[in-house]
Structures are given as structure tokens and as C-alpha cells.
């Protein structure tokens, strides 16, 4: 920390510092474009301007928007349900020894199984469609959120709870005003891992069986040898993931006003 601070103070070029930090990505894109233009790169790596053209084409055809909407709907629907489930179960299991003893061995066994493995079963129940993908996302989200919440509840400063109990605070007040606020940092750590996982599951779920969505766009582009379309899907996916992570961090800093870490 101190090292970077002294670096910052050096010389009158301090205002150039943030510019320099953007250097590598900019250079990368330029090199990518140049190599692509001069046909050094293999055909399947369309270069940035080609991707831009394909992006505009898909946008004008009105294909990109509904696909993106469907992907986002599945993602956030699944994420919402899964995280609420995970937090609720995590709270219960963290507070009650019986529930914890019951769930722990089950979770230990199911946790390492990638939830995408439930895809064939989910298709049999929900058919091929958005609900299947949302269910897979919800499943993959709920486990890490559950684990994070449960361990956060277990590591709560017991004194806080004791103090509240001494003041004869009702159970609901202890839950909502003592326990919930103090597990929030842990919950958000779990949510962030879960968000990354949810993109992995959603992508695979969309590739395996979907009628719309960005994953389908990628596999269609791949099948039709339209690599610019494929990469448009890839870039959009990456962009969505990046933006949703930022949004989550924004929400986190809103919720955890006092927490500086």
C-alpha cells in the first residue's frame, strides 16, 4: 500500500497515471485489429471492426435485443430465486444446530457436483425453455450463497447476540437488526462467487438446449462459420458479466456503508 502511495506522488505526471493504466487494453485491441486486418490471425478470430459490423447487423435485424433480454431474464430470475433461497437456508442452518446437522452432509456431497449436471433432469421436468435455464442458474447460485451465509452466521461475534438477548430484544429484532446486518459482508462475498458461477451454468445451459439467448447466438455463429456473429455473442456475454459484477459491487457498497474492505 505504502509503495503505491509513494509512486503516486512522484513528479508532475500524476494526472497521467489513470491514462497509463488503460494502456494495455487499448494496445491489445489495436494489435488485435492490426493482426486481423493483415490476415495473420486465424479466420475464427474476427477482429474488432468485423465484430462491430456484425453487432450492427444483428442489432438492425432485431435479433440481438430479444436474445440479450432472454439471457438476462433467465440469469436474473435464477439468480434472484437462488440467492434468496441460499440466504434463507443459510440463516436457518447457521442458527439451528439440528438443521445444520441435517443439511451439512447433504450439501457436502451435492456441492461439488456442477449443477449443470441436473440439466437432463431439469429438461425432463420443465422442457426446453427459459424455465429450465433459470432453474439451473438458481441451483448453481443457491449453494455458494448458502455456504457463505452459513459460515458468516457461525462466525458472528457472539457478544452482539448476547447483548441483544440481555436487552430482551424479540427474536425477530435479533434476526433482522443484529444477525442479518453482521452477516451481510459474508453474503455478498458468496453472491459475487455465485454470479460468476451463474454465467458459467447459463452459458452451458443455453448451448445444450435453448431456442433463444446469447449462448444460442454463439453456437449458431459457430455452426454457420460466421465467426463475427460468434464473437459478437462472446463479447456481449463478457460485457454483461462485467456490468453485472459492477452492479453487484455498487449494491454492496450501498448496503455496507460502514464496511470499507
Amino acid at each position: 500500500m505504502s509503495a503505491s502511495a509513494s509512486f503516486q506522488q512522484r513528479g508532475p505526471v500524476a494526472f497521467l497515471r489513470p491514462l497509463g493504466r488503460c494502456l494495455v487494453p487499448v494496445v491489445l485491441v489495436i494489435v488485435w485489429q492490426a493482426l486481423g486486418k493483415s490476415a495473420i490471425l486465424p479466420e475464427y478470430l474476427s477482429y474488432p471492426s468485423q465484430i462491430g459490423v456484425a453487432f450492427k447487423e444483428l442489432w438492425d435485424q432485431g435479433e440481438l435485443l430479444p436474445y440479450t433480454r432472454d439471457t438476462l431474464l433467465r440469469l436474473f430470475g435464477g439468480f434472484f430465486v437462488g440467492s434468496i433461497l441460499g440466504v434463507a437456508m443459510g440463516l436457518i442452518s447457521g442458527m439451528s444446530r439440528q438443521v445444520n446437522g441435517f443439511l451439512d452432509p447433504l450439501v457436502a456431497f451435492v456441492y461439488p457436483v456442477p449443477k449443470i449436471a441436473f440439466m437432463p433432469i431439469a429438461i425432463m421436468i420443465f422442457g426446453i425453455g427459459s424455465s429450465t435455464q433459470a432453474v439451473i442458474v438458481a441451483l448453481s447460485v443457491s449453494f455458494p450463497v448458502f455456504m457463505a451465509t452459513q459460515s458468516a452466521v457461525k462466525h458472528i461475534d457472539k457478544h452482539l447476540v448476547w447483548v441483544a438477548e440481555n436487552f430482551e430484544a424479540p427474536r425477530s429484532a435479533i434476526l433482522f437488526r443484529v444477525i442479518l446486518p453482521s452477516v451481510m459482508p459474508g453474503v455478498f462475498a458468496g453472491l459475487r462467487i455465485a454470479l460468476a458461477l451463474s454465467y458459467i451454468s447459463l452459458f452451458a445451459a443455453e448451448l445444450v438446449g435453448a431456442h433463444t439467448g446469447l449462448g444460442l447466438l454463439i453456437s449458431e455463429g459457430q455452426d454457420a462459420d460466421r465467426f463475427d456473429i460468434m464473437l459478437t455473442g462472446v463479447v456481449s456475454y463478457g460485457f454483461l458479466g462485467f456490468i453485472s459484477d459492477r452492479i453487484l459491487l455498487k449494491i454492496r457498497s450501498r448496503v455496507l456503508k460502514g464496511d470499507q474492505s
Binding site: V24, P112, D245
Partner: protein, 250 residues
């Protein structure tokens, strides 16, 4: 004997859930396509172990996971270490690294298959990429947490850079790195299974996807049981290893 008894006392919920499963399947409360009777799952498991189908797929999945994990974590420790210790590297590459951290790498998978083919190499490369990120983050955090005093102390005693690296910096980061390994290995396994499900003809992921498409749910569950067991074994192995290492270090 005590350990076994404690194990069964601790995991009493598994037989209960299996019993409910069996009841649901037996009385057709849930369609057998969704919950096949347990004895069918068990039979499928034994059959496919007997005819060598499952061991074949499991061996391939394990091999890919371990290869990707080893490559990814070695590279991740190196990158994390350089990123946290060399100032100009940190200045130039830290933004792009932490920006790409949030990007779902899985969307790059089609490109990986073009680069490395659909077989083992693309899966190993991809698992390595996904293991790399948590390892960099863990190493970076651990290395930043090293108290400056012990580095100064080492320098004061006239240690060479090399000596400082091997006997101060690396041991100080070790617990953090070992923790990172425990996060990275299940990610590697997940990635290998997922990519096998998307497009391959080998591996446990393929086994599940294939029998799912053939409407053979008992084999889907058999595959899942194998993955669950694999995940548990992997986790215990990393835990055992890291306990050994940190003990040896004192």
C-alpha cells in the same frame, strides 16, 4: 471404530433423504423419469463400473482436471506473485486483470475449441484458465498481507533477493496459496464437466449428457454420484496436503 460411528451419527440425513427418494420412486409419486428407483441407480452404477465404462470416463475427467489445475495454479501463483511484487507490472496489468476477472470466461470456450480442438487440450487449457484467476487473487492477497517488517528484517540480515524470495516471501504466502488451491480445484472440476457436456465424446460430463439425451435417468444419477465422490476426494486430498505442508513448516 469410533470414527466410523461418529461419521454415521453425523450424516444421518443421507439415509433419510435416500429413503424418501425410494418411497417417492416406489409409489410413483414422482415420475421414474425424474427420480428413478434407487436400486436402478445402484444397478447402473455397478454395471457401468463392471464393464469399465465409468472408470474409463472418470479417468479421462480426472486427468483433464488435474492437468488443468496444475498448470493453472502454478501459472496463477507466478502471476499473482509478480503482480503483487513488481510495481510496473502491477501498474500496467492490474486493471486488465481485475476487469477480466468479472468477465465470464466460459464464453471464450468456442474460441478455445478452435484453437485446441474439441478433445482434451481445449478442456485442459480452459480449466487452467479458470483455475488461474482464483489462484492469482489468493496469491496476490497473501503477498500483499506480508508485513513489511519481516521483509526489512530479511534485507537487514543481508539476504540476497533469491534467498528472500525462497525463505521469506514464499513461506509467508503459503497459507493463502493453499487456501486458493482449495477454491481452484472444484472450479477446475466444474469446468471440465461443463465443457465435456457441451461437446465431447469422453468424460463423465459426456456420460451424463449422453444418457440424459437417451432418457436414462438412472445413469445420469450414477454419473452425478461419481462427480460428487470425485469432488469430495479432491477436496480432502487438497486439505490433507495443505495440512501436511503447513505442519512441516511449523
Amino acid at each position: 471404530m469410533g470414527a466410523i460411528k461418529r461419521f454415521f451419527q453425523a450424516s444421518y440425513s443421507i439415509p433419510i433423504v435416500l429413503f424418501i427418494w425410494e418411497l417417492c420412486a416406489h409409489f410413483r409419486i414422482v415420475s421414474p423419469r425424474i427420480l428413478p428407483p434407487l436400486e436402478n441407480v445402484f444397478r447402473a452404477l455397478v454395471e457401468d463400473f463392471g464393464n469399465g465404462e465409468l472408470p474409463f470416463h472418470i479417468a479421462i475427467t480426472v486427468e483433464r482436471t488435474l492437468a488443468g489445475f496444475v498448470i493453472g495454479s502454478v501459472a496463477g501463483v507466478l502471476v499473482g506473485f509478480i503482480l503483487s511484487r513488481v510495481r510496473w507490472v502491477d501498474y500496467l496489468f492490474e486493471p486488465i486483470f481485475f476487469a477480466s476477472y468479472a468477465v465470464p470466461k466460459i464464453s471464450l470456450f468456442p474460441i478455445f475449441t478452435f484453437m485446441f480442438g474439441i478433445g482434451t487440450p481445449s478442456k485442459v487449457a480452459f480449466a487452467a484458465l479458470e483455475c488461474l484467476y482464483p489462484m492469482v487473487v489468493a496469491t496476490h492477497a497473501a503477498s500483499r498481507m506480508i508485513p513489511q517488517q519481516i521483509i526489512w528484517a530479511g534485507e537487514n540480515m543481508g539476504m540476497s533477493h533469491r534467498r528472500l524470495l525462497w525463505s521469506v516471501l514464499i513461506p509467508a504466502c503459503l497459507p493463502g496459496i493453499l487456501n486458493g488451491l482449495r477454491i481452484a480445484l472444484p472450479i477446475g472440476l466444474t469446468i471440465v464437466i461443463v465443457t465435456e457436456m457441451i461437446g465431447d465424446t469422453h468424460g463423465v460430463g459426456f456420460y451424463i449428457a449422453n444418457y440424459g439425451a437417451l432418457f436414462r435417468p438412472e445413469r445420469v444419477y450414477a454419473g452425478m454420484i461419481c462427480i460428487g465422490a470425485l469432488g469430495l476426494i479432491f477436496d480432502r486430498a487438497v486439505l490433507f496436503m495443505s495440512n501436511r505442508i503447513t505442519h512441516a513448516r511449523g
